[in-house]
């Protein structure tokens, strides 16, 4: 342990109490070098990432362009957006039809319209999602930590009973590309203490903090009580104790503390007031937003809620894009707006950074960026529309996408960056790379983007090679 880390650990321990001892005692990763990283003052204490998995088309959501309604024989090269634009509560800022509720909370945050992604030869959801979530393009020589793991590692839990990194709505089994999803849904070389608590079904989240199926709570606590008694009765306990054993006992304690805490009720959606719950709708994503709010209220550090990535489903529209985007907007519009309202009403929005983002945008014509060699993956190729399923943005576009940020630390009612108004819809003003985006998020959360931990005797930075620069124009 470096002397600096030991000081830092002591301070953390004082603040966080016993539960986090385990977290901080996790071996394997140390700050790179012996240098004191100076972290910026945090502008937010919790972060919610609303993940539009599968490539949310900016022109049909947050960055509407010229609209052409469906018409037989319409030349697709003329189509930019398949929905009309609507006004928002910010003067001069329009977003896409179908997001009427979100339109009414646009004054609480900053709309980024100039994010872009690299062209990886073939535009692949798994690799771009990996990149977005870790800041690094796979494959890598080491397992990179998820952005949530970085927050868990550097900031620690906000409430020592609540796991600091919670991932809602994504199944990791029984879906396509599951191995690729697992590869970034992890704390990587930080070790699993900083890894995600995965809650694929929000309405079943409570099971993760309950006794196993079929076990009464009384039996569960009785079992643990007797377990502790056994530990104390162990004749070898005093002279056969070691750090591995003690940390095991502490972790077991921390687990049972959560499982027997009041905080665990945050995982139980049936405890939400009916009226309040109904405002989130009954979709899995809506339920996930509600769960995220309840967890942040109880002190979760980082929560991701995803519309779920399943190849060719949800935002992953290789055909029938207009109809699908319409459905997806219906699914997210109300719960996202409600989440912002609820956080605000509870006085939490000022210290919670809410991010709505996707791995890339979509376009009617262009795969990747103009001139890219990426293979076209549209399943509804045509020059002229002959049926509805051809109407929609079916190509993966990496030249300009939109991200919405609300709450802690970001400007209100602000638009950052812009894309061109004619195809190609490239980011033309203040282009924002993943590195700079992450640097901005980390800065808001109070993490120096140059923070590095040691892995295999070399540094591994929070933003790739430490190069990310905070986009100050986004900060309040």
């Amino acid at each position: 342990m470096t002397s600096f880390e030991s000081i830092q650990r002591r301070d953390f321990l004082k603040q966080l109490g016993l539960a986090s001892t385990t977290a901080l005692a996790s071996p394997g990763t140390r700050l790179w070098g012996n240098e004191q990283i100076v972290h910026p003052p945090a502008r937010a204490d919790s972060c919610i990432l609303l993940w539009m998995a599968g490539g949310m088309a900016a022109p049909d959501t947050l960055d509407p362009k010229a609209y052409l309604p469906y018409e037989d024989g319409l030349e697709v090269k003329n189509i930019l957006s398949t929905f009309p634009a609507i006004d928002t509560n910010v003067d001069g800022v329009k977003i896409s039809q179908g997001m009427e509720n979100i339109a009414q909370v646009m004054d609480r945050g900053t709309l980024i319209r100039s994010a872009f992604q690299p062209d990886l030869g073939a535009i692949l959801h798994s690799r771009h999602q990996y990149h977005w979530h870790t800041g690094y393009v796979p494959p890598l020589t080491v397992a990179a930590p998820h952005i949530g793991a970085w927050m868990a590692k550097v900031l620690g839990p906000k409430n020592d009973v609540v796991p600091p990194f919670i991932n809602i709505g994504q199944r990791l089994e029984g879906v396509g590309e599951k191995e690729e999803l697992k590869a970034f849904t992890t704390a990587g070389f930080f070790g699993s203490e900083y890894g995600p608590m995965n809650l694929p079904y929000p309405d079943q989240a409570v099971q993760s903090v309950q006794p196993p199926k079929g076990m009464e709570p009384s039996r569960f606590s009785n079992r643990y009580k007797h377990f502790q008694k056994l530990l104390n009765q162990n004749p070898n306990r005093d002279h056969l104790s070691d750090f591995q054993g003690e940390s095991m006992i502490r972790s077991m304690e921390a687990a049972h503390r959560l499982l027997q805490s009041d905080e665990k009720h945050a995982f139980d959606l049936t405890r939400e007031d009916k009226d309040s719950a109904s405002k989130y709708g009954d979709s899995r994503f809506g339920q996930g937003c509600l769960l995220a709010r309840r967890l942040v209220e109880k002190g979760a550090r980082f929560v991701e809620v995803t519309t779920e990535y399943v190849p060719f489903l949800n935002w992953d529209t290789h055909e029938n894009g207009h109809t699908t985007a319409n459905r997806m907007k219906k699914e997210i519009d109300q719960p996202v707006a409600q989440l912002i309202h609820d956080l605000e009403a509870r006085g939490l929005l000022d210290r919670t950074l809410v991010i709505l983002a996707s791995e890339f945008s979509r376009d009617m014509m262009i795969e990747g960026v103009p001139g890219s060699s990426a293979p076209d993956q549209s399943r509804a190729r045509t020059d002229k529309l002959t049926e509805m399923k051809q109407y929609g943005l079916h190509r993966h576009f990496t030249g300009g996408s939109s991200i919405m940020m609300w709450g802690g630390g970001v400007k209100k009612g602000h638009v950052y960056g812009a894309t061109a108004d004619e195809r190609p819809l490239m980011a033309v003003k203040d282009p924002l790379s993943i590195e700079d985006l992450h640097a901005t998020i980390y800065t808001i959360m109070g993490i120096n983007p140059k923070t590095a931990y040691e892995v295999e005797k070399r540094p591994f930075y929070a933003t790739k090679d430490g190069i990310g620069k905070c986009a100050k124009g986004i900060l309040a």
Partner: protein, 790 residues
């Protein structure tokens, strides 16, 4: 911009600061402390940030990535002085902390002006240690008392030097449990415990080690985990879906089972023997990847890391800042594997320089750059396993030592440029290993028969750091696989099927009867791989044949992915669970005149499925051949019979010409031992307990249980289902009153105290019903005494 302090001002500074102006700077007492405090961390030992290394004067003068930084006698040309004095925090050195005081800056300034005196024998870093390439003979110190084992002679000398006590031996119970888990990954049963405790032979520890190591299947089952991690082999994962990756499972398991010498294993891996090629071929990712992750670069990185403990990952993008490896060396090694000429790319930007196929240690010989890829790989394999390559042997003995003793002699095990805590020990073991024919088991036996291995564990209250000293073996946390295996073992709740396609049959006799060889087998096989049309894991197949004549003999040649039981006219004739080893037999009196029914129960464990057979009925006139095909019938149990579905023609599919494999069996194979965790695909619980996603080489597992893991152990579905099934099994196997004692002895290797027994019973109010046993199992399996190997 160069330093622009004029001499008068400079002298003024010195006067103000009270530095004697005309006395020469004393390097050791004035300069060294500044360099140590301000520069050493990033520019000494392995580290060379910005390419600058400052271990010695020569290194410092050689400069960094941007060229030279110090010119003796010329402060104005010595760029480093500008950096340490800079006000601009972006440029200043060191970048963190308050920086140098004015006094320190001036000391350096004067030192440069005076010619940078720096005696050759003085190094800025703590040590000048560099790993040697060649093996080094070690003179063994005299033994202490009866402790004559070479390992003890070396370790004891070190302990005595430090005035540290020689570690006491562990109890027999502890030793037994440790030896079992380290060699075969299973717990001793209560019977095995008794027999060991009651054995009064002085050599019983050695005998036990031999017995355990000779349990070939269990040994292979256990060590599969280590090798799969090291060689990045798995049954599911990234790359398989697009065929960008292949397994080496079957090869690896057989190598372990046969205890193939390590040098031979290495040669087969590097020169890509059939079935072992998946290792060097790496993972082909979809789309473009950065230059450090091409298959060629993966080859360079993995070969260096796995066999030499050398980290080529940094050097795949740029000259390493942390050790001596360069971009050129990484590319040259990659070029050994590459089909095409490689251009060096520095951080993804082409440099115009080309790579030449060669490796890093020309002292041992070099690769012929003009040779074909096949020959280059052969040459590399030979160089790697060259008898004079001490780095090769040190790397593997260190890995095995770490597994057995809890910590590598070099730690971490993949940073072999780190100074070992006992160089003599490492060098001795490496030589010994080579002398013993690179025999992994022999080496394990050597370590495990030392007093050191038998010692009580060194129980530490904190994870050891770089200041680690040896005081006995360190406790080890069970791997996810050891934990699952132990739980399954105690509760008899093993999974039914393995994902790994490996041969675990206990009877490996090859039927070599003349009759089988002389039998008139047809030259051609035109059978089909068949299954039911609707996929199912268990199916029945059948075929009826009408004979007008009774055959003299019948030859049966059959195999199935994965298992089958073949009956003829209701009589069970052959079984197998290994598709790679076809059943080949000759029998009499199987068939009769009239309708004969051939029936097959077939089972698939996962992946592809198919049954293939050729039956040859010999009579006076000649032979009649019956082959599997669409004229057979298939049935999912309980459903109706339908024509069999042809999966593949014989010779196609993943099985190739499996019926003609040389390795055959007589179809009477005994049952395989229970399925082990290393052979099943990663699941939620094992992943949570630290079994890695094997995209990368992984050589160490987390040593602590985390809170999230503890939650999974407290309420996870997989474990609670296992315990439920386990409790049922135990109630069948054991008299429930005996369970607490039996369980403690099996799981922990000791008898519970009376108080513990009371608590174990009290959890179910002395009922020991199904739930009571479940809870009791949990309470035992969750104890550190269970999950830690001490």
């Amino acid at each position: 911009m160069k330093p622009s302090i004029s001499l008068p001002i400079f002298i003024y500074y010195l006067l103000c600061l009270g530095v004697p102006i005309f006395a020469k700077v004393d390097f050791v007492h004035q300069v060294m402390p500044v360099l140590k405090k301000q520069c050493a961390e990033c520019h000494t030992e392995g580290k060379k940030k910005g390419g600058l290394s400052m271990n010695t004067r020569n290194e410092f003068l050689a400069g960094g990535e941007g060229g030279e930084v110090a010119v003796p006698g010329d402060p104005s040309e010595s760029y480093f002085l500008e950096l340490v004095a800079s006000e601009d925090t972006d440029d200043r050195m060191p970048p963190k902390g308050p920086g140098l005081s004015k006094e320190e800056v001036e000391t350096l300034h004067q030192w440069v002006a005076e010619g940078m005196e720096w005696p050759e024998e003085i190094r800025l870093g703590d040590s000048g240690w560099e790993p040697k390439l060649k093996p080094r003979m070690v003179d063994l110190p005299n033994p202490t008392k009866e402790r004559t084992h070479a390992i003890d002679r070396i370790l004891d000398q070190d302990l005595i030097k430090r005035n540290a006590p020689l570690p006491n031996p562990a109890t027999d119970e502890t030793f037994l449990r440790r030896a079992y888990l380290d060699t075969i990954g299973l717990l001793p049963t209560p019977e095995e415990l008794d027999s060991f405790l009651n054995n009064e032979s002085k050599t019983k520890h050695k005998v036990l080690v031999d017995q355990l190591l000779s349990r070939n299947i269990s040994y292979a089952d256990h060590w599969m985990t280590f090798w799969n991690d090291l060689l990045r082999n798995d049954y599911t994962g990234t790359g398989f879906i697009t065929k960008g990756r292949t397994q080496i499972t079957t090869w690896l398991y057989q190598a372990l089972r046969d205890n193939k010498p390590y040098d031979q294993m290495t040669r087969e891996l590097i020169d890509a023997q059939k079935d072992a090629a998946g290792f060097i071929n790496g993972i082909k990712w979809r789309g473009t990847v950065n230059a450090s992750q091409t298959r060629n670069m993966q080859f360079a990185q993995n070969v260096s890391q796995v066999f030499l403990g050398i980290n080529m990952k940094c050097a795949s993008c740029h000259d390493s800042f942390i050790d001596r490896w360069t971009l050129q060396e990484a590319y040259d090694l990659a070029a050994v594997f590459a089909e095409e000429t490689l251009e060096l790319e520095r951080c993804d930007i082409p440099t115009g320089k080309m790579a030449t196929p060669r490796w890093m240690f020309p002292e041992l010989g070099q690769i012929d750059p003009k040779a074909s890829k096949k020959d280059r790989l052969k040459q590399l394999a030979a160089l790697m396993t060259h008898p004079e390559n001490g780095r090769f042997t040190r790397t593997i003995v260190n890995r095995i030592w770490a597994k057995l003793m809890g910590r590598g002699i070099v730690h971490p095990v993949d940073a072999m440029h780190t100074k070992p805590w006992n160089e003599d020990l490492l060098d001795y073991l490496a030589i010994r290993f080579a002398k013993d024919g690179y025999d992994l088991k022999k080496f394990m036996r050597f370590v495990m028969t030392s007093h050191a291995y038998r010692s009580r564990s060194d129980l530490l209250s904190e994870e050891p750091g770089a200041d680690y000293v040896y005081n006995g073996p360190l406790p080890k946390r069970m791997s996810a696989e050891q934990l699952m295996d132990s739980i399954w073992q105690v509760t008899a709740s093993h999974p039914k099927n393995a994902n790994a396609k490996v041969d675990r049959s206990r009877v490996a006799k090859k039927p070599t009867s003349v009759e089988v060889h002389k039998f008139p087998w047809p030259d051609k096989i035109t059978s089909k791989w068949i299954w039911s049309k609707d996929q199912a894991s268990k199916i029945n197949l059948r075929k009826e044949i009408n004979l007008t004549e009774k055959p003299v003999r019948a030859g049966i040649l059959a195999t199935c992915d994965n298992a089958f039981n073949l009956t003829i006219n209701g009589r069970s004739v052959a079984q197998s669970t290994i598709w790679q080893k076809p059943v080949k037999m000759v029998q009499r009196d199987l068939f009769k005149i009239g309708i004969n029914t051939i029936e097959v129960e077939a089972e698939m464990f996962g992946g592809s499925q198919g049954f293939v057979a050729q039956l040859v009925l010999q009579n006076e006139k000649g032979v009649q051949v019956v082959e599997t095909g669409k004229d057979w019938e298939a049935q999912i149990p309980g459903q109706s019979w339908t024509p069999a579905h042809v999966e593949k023609d014989y010779g196609q599919g993943p099985w190739h010409k499996a019926l003609q494999n040389r390795d055959i069996q007589d179809g009477k194979t005994g049952a395989e031992p229970p399925v082990r965790a290393s052979l099943v695909a990663n699941d939620f619980l094992m992943r949570s307990l630290g079994r890695p996603h094997r995209d990368q080489v992984v050589t160490s597992r987390p040593s602590s249980l985390t809170t999230l893991q503890a939650i999974d152990l407290a309420n996870g579905e997989i474990l609670s289902n296992t315990l439920r099934e386990g409790a049922k099994n135990l109630s069948r196997l054991e008299n429930s009153n005996n369970i607490p004692v039996w369980l403690y002895r099996h799981a922990l290797g000791r008898t519970p105290t009376e108080a513990e027994k009371q608590t174990l019973l009290a959890v179910s109010n002395n009922l020991l019903n199904q739930q009571g046993v479940e809870d009791l199992l949990w309470m035992v399996f969750m104890q550190p005494d269970f999950q830690i190997i001490r």
